[in-house]
Symmetry: C2
Subunit: 359 residues, 2 copies
């Protein structure tokens, strides 16, 4: 029996996507092979990857000034690639610190020999809010931020106007809402939240940004190399791109596009936040209201021991993945694209019942 | 209908593995989710990855002195990781050049600031043989070789005794034959030939080798970081490890272990080489006999235009992937683990018929 999957990532995938992937397993597109067994240099895989790229660009509303590439290594490898390509040894760069992932990106830039600086931080209040005041370094080669903080459940609503090219880790909100990308030079996302399996990182970057990249970095860490070879400098993660491609088609055809996806995600988040806010203080959201994430709803119970009870009993009724990130504890419901409104309604009903019994 | 898949990689996967993966798709191990939707921090995925690691170590005959880790980025990222971890800026290192992949590894070491040197090369005869004389640099931090050359169809039978830790790219022969690994310090393999989907690189290294690694490299490129975090510094490519784990069990349970796998692969290669050698010169093997690969059988036809005809007609009868590597042309049959003896026999019959019509 399928469960309601509130995992923080890897997260839920659309049922229709999984069903198609299972059906295709022995004979993909009449090739007599799984997509995994097809040559990446064959015309079928090349066409599939080009489709996935085109679908991503269409969903994101990106024109020819942008390239979409498929990398590996998750956000953690992007932390290094960004610093190596765009700052380099001694190069200045600005980071906005909204929590664990931004902190890691900042530290990785240091390891790579760059000179990162904090343009803003919400560490003073436990990363429960998104900063609104910035101290940008005029020499910075780029400004880096994390669009959605999975751990603390915060999300940017309006992005800053930065004096340098703006780079964003969009891993946990990628394709979850319509965003004006005109302010950005590069965005990326580990696929395992909203798009596909772990092992794929989707990067969209302006071609003029790629032209600024340093050329002294290893091939597999060089954005221009990925662009030049259409993500096939070496064997790409074909299966993961395939699943991501199916998910893009699902957003377009089943959901009705990114605008419809946005509305659905708003409805899901509103349903859950309302249940929290109307619980008379039994459930308490941990992020500041104005910085609340549509994707990761973080909350706590009045007594610490109730958190474990909640996790255990919810899992017992088929609501899984409701524990908070291991670094902060508490509870968290991740409402990624493939989580349905019905899943959220079931959760809200469970919460009401749990409160009745333990309130 | 399933085809006989002679692709050079990504290549064939065992039918039983694909069937199990399809069956598991909506509900893996009773979790109510695909393995892709499970949290990598959950006990089920942790157990699955530990099993895959243990099965790999058992198949390879590795003891506690070795660690097995799961990376991403294919061989091409290993080229950089090896140079960054074990040579570093100005560090000496020896490369044995047996073709395209060794050449790329050598060049990547240069990009990483190391001082690679060629200890031997078979470039003088178009990489058609494995060198037997070496000029090792006493200052080298390691000696690097490619165990099997997919492009030219050559393979080492006896590995050299090197004065420095021996590192091997085993991508296209991994788990295809029993090898005495006592001479090696690190071996690695892109999974997409014999073990699983593209997007996973399996690395086995001695712990004492990891202790020699430089500590100034980015986290996602640091072998000690992978070991310390059991390949979970960040989200690992769960699906790919899962499929690789299924393939290991298939080698053990269906084939009967690595010794039986070796014998089967020898029988497959002998069948095909015999057909080539007994064709009265119609089919000509391109590698020197003593250096022939069990995995990639490269051959040519008497007239260039026949190669295309062969490829087209063989594909028409369900024998796919028989074109040579795009850098050298000709023909190539890759006989990875999941290619059956029956597949090879069908190919040999096709070759006899093709010769009869075109000889």
């Amino acid at each position: 029996m399928r469960v309601a999957n509130f995992n923080g990532g890897p997260g839920a995938l659309p049922l229709e996507v999984l069903e198609e992937a299972a059906r295709d397993m022995l004979d993909w597109r009449g090739s007599g092979m799984s997509v995994m067994e097809n040559s990446h240099r064959g015309k079928e895989v090349i066409a599939m990857m080009a489709e996935a790229e085109a679908d991503l660009k269409a969903l994101l509303g990106l024109d020819e000034e942008w390239a979409v590439i498929f990398c590996q290594g998750g956000a953690s490898l992007q932390f290094a690639m960004i610093a190596l390509n765009f700052a380099g040894p001694g190069g200045h760069c600005d980071y906005i610190n909204t929590g664990l992932w931004a902190t890691k990106a900042y530290k990785e830039a240091k390891i790579c020999g760059a000179k990162p600086r904090l343009a803003a931080s919400s560490e003073d209040d436990d990363f429960t809010y998104i900063p609104e005041v910035f101290d940008f370094d005029p020499e910075a080669k780029y400004v880096y931020l994390t669009a959605n903080n999975t751990v603390r459940g915060t999300q940017w609503s309006t992005f800053p106007k930065a004096p340098a090219p703006l780079i964003a880790d969009m891993s946990s909100e990628f394709l979850s809402r319509s965003i004006d990308l005109s302010r950005f030079a590069l965005i990326y996302a580990g696929a395992q939240k909203n798009v596909g399996p772990a092992g794929l990182t989707v990067v969209a970057l302006r071609r003029e940004m790629a032209d600024r990249a340093r050329l002294d970095v290893p091939n597999m860490l060089s954005y221009p190399v990925y662009i030049k070879h259409q993500s096939m400098y070496n064997t790409p993660p074909v299966w993961s791109v395939y699943v991501a491609g199916l998910t893009c088609k699902w957003i377009r055809n089943t959901i009705g596009g990114l605008k419809a996806m946005t509305e659905l995600n708003q409805a899901k988040a509103e349903t859950l936040y309302r249940a929290i806010d109307d619980s008379g203080g039994f459930y308490r959201g941990t992020a500041k209201s104005s910085s609340r994430s549509l994707m990761n709803v973080t909350f706590r119970l009045p007594r610490v021991e109730l958190n474990d009870k909640f996790k255990k009993e919810s899992a017992g009724t088929g609501l899984v993945g409701l524990g908070g990130h291991r670094s902060v504890g508490g509870l968290r419901a991740s409402l990624y694209n493939a989580v349905t409104l019905a899943d959220v309604q079931t959760l809200v009903e469970f919460m009401a019942e749990f409160k009745r019994k333990n309130g």
